[in-house]
Amino acid sequence: MRFQLSEDQRALRAGVRELLARRFDAEALRAAVGRPGLDRALWRELGEAGFFALRLPEADGGVGLGLPEAVLAFEEAGRALLPGPLIATHLAAGSVPGAAAGETVVADVDGGLVEWLADADVVRGGGARLPRPEVSGEPGEPGKPGKPGEPGEPGEPKGAVPLRSVDPLTPLHRWTGGAAWPPDPVAVLLTAAEQLGTATRVCELAVQHARTREQFGQPIGAFQAIKHLCAGMLVRAETARAAVYAAAVTADPLDIAAARLLADEAALRSTRDCLQVHGGMGFTWESEVHLHLKRAWVRAQRGGGDTESEESLAAELVD
């Protein structure tokens, strides 16, 4: 057993972090919030860097790496709040032309919601290409609600209704196509990796703030009430990390389900605690904290939420 990251894996993680720091820094994040829509140039750069082709065999023009490396890359994407249908496009590499290179943007239907539908060149459900869905209504309008929850046939989408997304960096459509596809376990794992990145990042943000913000004549991080919030964030992130990395190694569906539950919990609770540590500033639009919190909410809802993972882990106990 050698659970730690290999030298190559460390280098890969550092490389992705460096790329994102250069191409999607705090200023770019601000700009993206003010200007909705996908940055196609950045998308192509991600493609060139191998972000989408990471797991594609070298013989097929990919990087030929595995799930652990993909998890490390998506953890970095989560940390940086990188926008776009990253997982859908990554999963489409090798089967949708142009996806691997970052030329094609792919959106996935995996539950009641679709991310980035309007910007996508290709829409897929259950790994198969869908006809372009009819979009009705405008965000904020009731639109034509369709019949959510009523099962239809895969491949026969009826449409999609835009909604005013809580996350300014993730446009959302409500899927009214009727059909629902079970989420791809790899998509679940990569979402968990993104949540882990968020959980780690907000812990760092909270600690930075607690070290520098002074009240009552000392850094607020000297108060145990603040310390314990920060320590709790680290505990959640590190426990989730062990679960997520292990699932990346085993690719076992139950390990992935466990990773998802731990990572969602870490991201959801730690973004809240980060906001709390930031006090009033954390409640402002200007602060970065709300972007992490809202993205964590969006990711936690993928595939219809946590219920399926909880049920599969419960079922295992009585098998």
Binding site: M1, P68, Q224, K227, H228, V235, A258, L262, L313
Partner: protein, 384 residues
């Protein structure tokens, strides 16, 4: 990242399994919790079997009589013995995990020769005299005094939370030898023979109703200066060396056991119908995720310790915080499954639920652990 056994680890695991399957049926029945002499004999008997088979002191350095096993191999040992239902160290706990490693690291050749072999062979039991009524989380505030008188120290004071005091041969004792010095600098580590005149042991009944701990009163007890490990007034450092033997393996067996209990709990829920409640079912599903994650965290910490040559990582406090809470949640879930029966002390898991309440207090309260994580890992400033 690799979770698979190496070929040597695989071979070690297979040999251990074979030995456990052969040996465990020869072990006598577990004595009742109140039968202290019986528990001592049972635990030491098991230690002797381990010794004869070459498994005693697996994680101790070879020059201390141990096997010098890597943290990973130690993890396999703890995992397999728990899976097989073998006893845990029991009465051997302090000797094998605290006092022994301290003597191995800081003792003279004569002290090592005197004290270490009987620990490994399962002949002598050690207890721990660290905490005091007024020195709990603030251990360095301890006040048990020791004066030099010729070739002896004369010790007076009281200790608390001492497990196995009734059946111990020795006590690793922290005493104050310089009351004028700063609190961490006036402490000395002594090996106290438990049959010395002036020692009174009073069992301490816990909220679970059993006497797992004792108070130890010391009234002018004479301890030879030769029993001092390390220098006078250097006992705090000597004691902290002990803690560095903790390599993330302290709760391995317990995590394995908790996963087994969780399975039993789910089967009981299915039997009594509470499994039909999706809220309960999902709660158990979440606990499954939790204990799987704790197992992975154990593997992570052990792997880190292995890579750093046995030096413990920062993962110990993180693990303990999460595990102690998960254990309490597990037995709270058990109470939900049991319903009214959760109030019946004769039902399984009811006493375990009570015992689980100590986990967020013993060996560093969760509040102290949060401080450790915040100050030592996250680098937040010390303060109030």
């Amino acid at each position: 990242m690799d979770l698979a056994d190496t070929s040597e680890e695989r071979e070690f695991r297979a040999r251990l399994r074979e030995w456990l399957a052969k040996t465990l049926p020869t072990l006598g029945p577990k004595p009742s919790p109140d039968d202290w002499p019986g528990r001592r004999a049972h635990d030491l008997g098991w230690q002797r079997m381990l010794y004869d088979a070459g498994y005693a002191g697996l994680h101790w350095p070879t020059d201390a009589g141990g096997r010098g096993a890597t943290p990973t191999r130690h993890l396999i040992f703890l995992e397999e013995t728990e899976r097989a239902g073998a006893p845990y160290v029991g009465a051997g706990f302090v000797g094998l995990l605290h006092a022994g490693p301290t003597i191995a690291a800081e003792g003279t050749a004569g002290q090592r020769a005197r004290w270490l072999p009987p620990i490994l062979r399962g002949e002598e039991v050690w207890c721990q005299g660290f905490s005091e009524p007024d020195a709990g989380s603030d251990l360095a505030a301890l006040r048990t005094r020791a004066w030099r008188d010729g070739d002896d120290y004369v010790v007076s004071g009281s200790k608390i939370w001492t497990s196995h005091a009734e059946v111990a041969d020795w006590c690793e004792l922290l005493v104050r030898t310089d009351p004028a010095a700063a609190k961490h600098r006036g402490i000395t580590w002594l090996a106290l023979p438990m049959d010395a005149p002036g020692i009174t042991v009073r069992p301490l009944r816990t909220l679970a109703g059993s006497a797992e701990f004792a108070e130890v009163f010391l009234d002018e007890v004479r301890v030879p200066v030769a029993n001092r490990v390390g220098d006078e007034n250097d006992g705090w450092r000597v004691t902290m060396v002990t803690l560095s033997f903790e390599r993330g393996t302290a709760f391995v067996g317990e995590v394995v056991a908790c996963r087994r209990v969780l399975g039993q709990l789910a089967r009981e829920a299915r039997r009594n119908g509470s499994w039909d409640d999706p809220v309960l079912r999902r709660r158990l599903g979440r606990l499954n995720a939790e204990f799987r994650a704790l197992w992975r965290l154990t593997q992570w910490n052990v792997s880190e310790a292995q890579a750093s040559g046995g030096v413990p990582g920062v993962g110990g406090s993180v693990f303990k915080l999460r595990y102690s809470q998960a254990r309490q949640e597990l037995y709270d879930a058990a109470a939900t499954v049991l319903g009214d029966a959760a109030l019946d002390l004769d039902r399984p898991w009811v006493l375990d639920r009570l015992s689980s309440l100590s986990y967020t207090i013993a060996a560093g309260t969760s509040q102290i652990q949060h401080n450790i994580v915040a100050e030592r890992i996250l680098g937040l400033p010390k303060g109030r």
